[in-house]
Amino acid sequence: MSAGSKKGVSDMELMLYADGELSTDESRRVAARLAEDPDARLKLESLRQVGEAVRTYTELETDRAEAELPAFADMWQRIERRIQANGRAPAPDEAAPTPMRSKAAAAGWWAGIRRWLEDHRGHVLTGAFSAGVACALMLALGPRVRVVERVRDGAPVVGTPAVLRSPPEVEDLEVYEGSSTILTIEPEGSDDSAAAVIWISDDREAKKESPL
């Protein structure tokens, strides 16, 4: 890069030196080169000037803000109000955002959702509890779902999980080099299908796949 000076002190080295990011040995080496390199010394001085400008500028801006902005003087009061509001259930007039609170202060949409959830925790819990009760009632009182699917050849089971009035009849069978299980589901009405058969295992396949 062209950043290096004639005596071999690169601009990056210069910056690391100014920021105290070099090791002791490296720092000594750069210092020695600087003594012989007026161009590098000039760059170093310019780095320091930039730093001083930033520091002094921000300090003066803080002085001005403190003198000119009423919000600066009131900052503690607002913080205190928020701390107190966080520490107890918010009264109706405190639930509204304080004048200082703006989109700038929010920590993103997720923080907004979290804040909303915190603010409405009671409502959310009540809603969740009500939904749970409603689901339980629907399961207990609603119409039964019937299993009418036939599963074969390891095809994936699809459809709605069933709730059965009576447990399926289960029968294990010994078959040649394997085993199977038959589940028979009682029909609920005269038009319903009677049973589903599920093959549980095939010993020959199991022996092939298992290293044991």
């Binding site: 601009d11 210069l14 310019s46 000037q49 003066l60 009061q77 701390i83 703006s102």
Partner: protein, 223 residues
Amino acid sequence: MLLHPKVNKRLENSSIRSNEAADDIDDLELVDRARAGDEVAFRALFERYHRRAFSLASGVVRNRDDALDVVQEAFIKAHKHIGKFEGTSSFYTWLYRIVMNLAIDHIRRTKRVKNVDFNDAVGHAESDSVGEESLVPRVLDENPGRSLARKEMREHIGTALSELSDNHRAVLVMRELEGLSYEEMAQTMGCSKGTIMSRLFHARRNMQKRLLELMGGEKDLGA
């Protein structure tokens, strides 16, 4: 001072007596007291650091109202989580991280489209490369710190700072105001040390060039 009755009660029994200067109490003791519910102790921490926190925030977000919001949120957050402060770093180190996170969140949110400058894009891809850019071997004809009291000088520096990309400005302010190491800045900004080096290099160089343009003062030290 607006105080909740509970806080007033605590004030009466506060461990910080009126004749006990808060300045004489070290941060960790104030933190311990604040953790135990002493609001006066927390306020002492606020009084000690809110200006510094504001300088940092305003340097990064470049808007006084937004900076106030950031500082306010930072102290509220610090109060809420003070139980998690373990004392392995100074209270202010912990606080400035909160301030910086909020300030960086703010600039990311509000200027998502703006300020993706070429230098920064290069810096992200090749974190420790500075390409063909180099520092300008020039100094300003006036000491910028001393002459900052002049209105136009302040405006020039404000303009130059505002024109930096958000990431460049954040790194420059952290470094110059807080003197953070590259490693600390990398942790705070969630990027590599090389990226910090690159951002800082370009920030300083761009700041220097812009200031020279605006102020028109160039002088070779070595000449």
